[in-house]
Amino acid sequence: MKPTGIVGLGAVGSRVARQLTASGSHLAVFDTDHGAISELRSSPNTVALIDANLRDDMTDVAVVATPAPQAPIALDLLRRGVHVVTTTDDPDDVHELLGHDAEIERLGRCLVVGAAASPGMSGLLVAELRQRFDEIDEIHAAFHGTGGPACARQHHRALGGDAIGWHDGEWIERPGGSGRELFWFPEPIGGKDCYRAELADPIVLHRAFPTVNRISARVSATRRDRLTARLPMMSPPHPEGGLGGIRIEVRGSLAGARVTHVAGIAERTAVIAGAVAASVADQLQGLVSNGGVPAGVVVLGDGRLDETALMTAVIQRGIEVFEYIGAAD
């Protein structure tokens, strides 16, 4: 088996590398930053490349964990015959990648779009909760915290942009920073005021669950975040991000009754993203060996990968997943 490629060793990429080396995978990592790559160079399982291209004969599966846009790198790798896992959370980047479905299917390659925390883990949580319903008709996602600096900049832009949501069969646009709701995340995060924002999750979740009538996504923000959302960032983002959270609420019906289920995670966003991307890359490597890689664009939740196995793998990589019990349905 060829090593798994990783392009970009920022907060997320380095977590993917750590997760994969911890589970015994061989890696070929590429970054232009000498400092980021020096730690991995010493690993006997790692081929480290600086200022050089990840060659197509080196790997069958590559994780792209660079700042957005990831589409040019991902499409280049796909056209050279590599299956690609992207970690992008940028709505424009996600749109661009989803638009190449026909070409990627023709190439016989697989592109997993948004295998990170949000999107990514959000789709896995919905797929997990989906099993408790006859039918689901609403998905409401909320996020707290950011991964690395690129993710923090994306979060800042998102609050100042136009938030999209899927509402009764059509896309709606609302101003970012509006629509406050108090959501309860797993401890120690607790209650956070969350607002609409320009997020990729509704796009990805609608692709995965096209029959759902309403999909919304919000992020937590402070008054200062909202006040300065349309200005340049006042202070440089933290290199590793802080504790992050995901809260997914799914509504639907079971045996004719209305039912709501809520699942959540409290963990560093880059750690969640790293565990998800590493688990997806591992599963694709296994499918390469069996010849069962799905061709075309895949999003987590659409059922084209084994999502039960992915959730198990993510939990085994140390991500604790919770459900909210006892609230009125």
Binding site: R180, L182, G326
Partner: protein
């Protein structure tokens, strides 16, 4: 200019106002239960 400034301040105040929501009075988080495979 003064009118525009006043409008900006009022818009900012409206955007940031409010006292938040109500925390849940019962229930809590527990580890996700999953069907046995």
């Amino acid at each position: 200019m003064a009118a525009l400034s006043l409008a900006g301040i009022l818009a900012g105040a409206i955007r940031l106002r409010g006292r938040g929501g109500v925390p849940p009075e019962r229930g809590g988080w527990r580890e996700l239960s999953r069907p046995r495979s």
